[in-house]
Amino acid sequence: MADRQPTSEYLLSPYRVLDLTDDRGLLCGKMLADLGADVIQVEPPQGNAARRLGPFANDDVRPENSLFWWAYAANKRSITLDIETVDGCILLRRLAKQADFLIESFPPGYLADLGLAFSDLKELNPALVMVSITAFGQDGPYANYQATDIVGMALGGFMSLTGDSDRAPLRLSFPHFYLHGSAAGATGAMLAHAHRALTGEGQHVDVSCQQAVAKTLAHAPQSWDIEGVIIKRMGVFRQTSADTKVRVNWRCKDGYINYMLQGGSVAASTRALLAWLDEEGMGDDYLNDINWEELGYGLVRTEVMERIVEPLQNFFESKTKDELSQGSVDRRILLFPVATPRDLLEHPQLEARKYFRQLEQPGRDTAVTHPGAFVSAMGAAQVGPSRRAPLIGEHNFQIYCEELGLSKEELSVLKQGGVI
């Protein structure tokens, strides 16, 4: 915590995290950092592999310009260390001795080959919580499978449910497979910490990203288990059961919106929209006559849904994204824009809550707007990012010399020996 001077304490202020992950795990440490832990990213001397990922600032493809890195390494410090060297391995063990958490995303068995398995580190530091984030977990038939994002999103069951029915299953155009597992890693780290707080014992947390994704499928697994129904992808519609569906995405005058015509607990929202159609002379008796209040959620039958698309589509296409969004806030209708990054940067609610944080970035005249805290702690504690992503090995001197007690001469040897 050497160079952080909070005005009050963060939720996780006392704790140190060693983060050995690449793009497959960065978010885990980022979450702990935003909660206030001192997170040290341990990078290979040439820089973390995630620094290869775009987009890049000014499209200048240097490792210091990876916006993927900026996003998920913000609030961390960085040291370089080649843990495959003998000296590097010894240094990592020294660091692990003083750490509360160690997070890694190497293929299963990699650290064990270096003598850095959990069982090895536990000998040095019985209170250490180690989190391993891998595609499928540490063992099992797929443990050594190669998994990029698209492979994981396929095996996790997400893709079969997403996309147009007449084309191939789809992933998001931004990798989420490892993000789900990384976020789960932060949950696991804190659950293990809860046990340590009581007993002083550390443990190993083994995360499966495939399982994390398989838990994002809403009721679809239960539809198979209980009804024997395989839910299918339906493009802008969503299948809710064997013979019911609901339209989710709609085109409007200048973009897209999200609106689901539903009954049950959201009947009031449905009625409010139908009243708006009436006001504008675009009302539809068939729609108005449906007993939305008595209809359960997700129970609009397919043939009914197909009948109601046209009047709604006509209404939406007569209005802009902003007109529809604002009108829905006023009328308490469950309608939202299909927002772009620009829409989010200008969103009145995010602005009012001062969500975005300005972080100084070297070589830039103006601070760079970053996504802010994912939670606020009203009361005494602070949360949220306060420091930009580190440069490669930016904190080598601070951590190796000032905190670990190495001399400048030793640091120089390690540097020239390619260890750091």
Binding site: G152, A168, G372
Partner: protein, 411 residues
Amino acid sequence: MVATPNNPKPLNGLKVLDFCWVVAGPMVTKYLGEYGATVVRVESSKRPETLRRAAPFKGSSESINTSGYFANYNTDKYGITIDMRHPRAKDLILRAVEWADLVTENFTPGTMERWGLGYEELRAVNPKIIMFSTSMLGRGGPMESQPGFGPVLSSLAGLTHITGWPDRDPVNPYGAYTDFIVPRFAVAAIVSGLDYRQRNGKGLHLDMSQLEASIHFSAPFILDCVVNDRVQGRQGNRDPGAAPHGVYPCLGDDRWIAIACTSDQQWQSLQNHIAPTGDGWPFEKRFATLMGRKAEEDELDSLMGQWTPVWDDRKLMETLQASGVPAGMVNDTSDLFQDPQLIHRQHFQYLDHPEIGVYATERSELTLSLTPGNIERPAPLMGQHTEEVLTGFWGLSTEEYQSLKEDGALD
């Protein structure tokens, strides 16, 4: 591996008064229960929550106890009913707050306050209480009371915008997608809050905007807009640094495989599978380099799509993986139940429910070596544990319980 008396759960002893409903909130408290917390879920039989009336149902959709959707997210919880609009509800809840360590809720901001149960009121009876609130858009601001739920928030959070084919309209990532992003942020924050309380003796009110948490799932694109003034759009299944990179049809109805070549070595392995004789289209010069494959990607995808349909998806995945090529069959929801790796991880656990019968619930994606979680009980029937909780946990006398019941406060 399951928890046993020798294998305690990490949250044993944590007492949770849970007002969460629908999906994002209940998934948070499901984790807490799975790892040992005592979770008392407050419902009202007068206004059954959305998920109790959501498909799929075992048997009749008229029953409020047979939704499989509800049953999955409410395991291990004690279910009680209180009519929160009843004049005696507030005092009863404040009594429970003395018992509780943590109060969780995901109503539209202002709801708890209207019942006289805002953080200040809770703190007045229990200064160490941790309150966790999560709503679509967070507290304060012009849109705090805007209602909403996961499927629409996925669009507001920028995730629909980046899902779809470039030549077609964007589509939602399946389901209530952000509802499954939020809980992992939430549990990490809650347990951090408990640690803070342990260290400082102070309670806290944690407030999570589901929009603000979800934006972290596309943060580099936000920065791209800030720094480069660029708005990234939907790219189908393409990836900027790999080719081939897509999903291709396999033998059977709606069977598919995802294949990604992220290095020359992987492409060379794939070439040899497609054309074992060492000639044919994979060996054409235009496909020899990544630059070449990216330039001709439409053609490459089309040729890949002509090669894969003779293959069984699982067989092709196993064959390609054996030679180091990233490949994964597109599991549909029935496949998930047969997936050897998910079976190995015991992803689905089976519980016996009084009205549903045996049903599958999803276990945690985490294996904790010393304190593994375990799901022990099915979701509660409406009001199943009201008497047990009020008299057993909260210390009401049988007379007090009866009086509340006769008054209609426990509907």
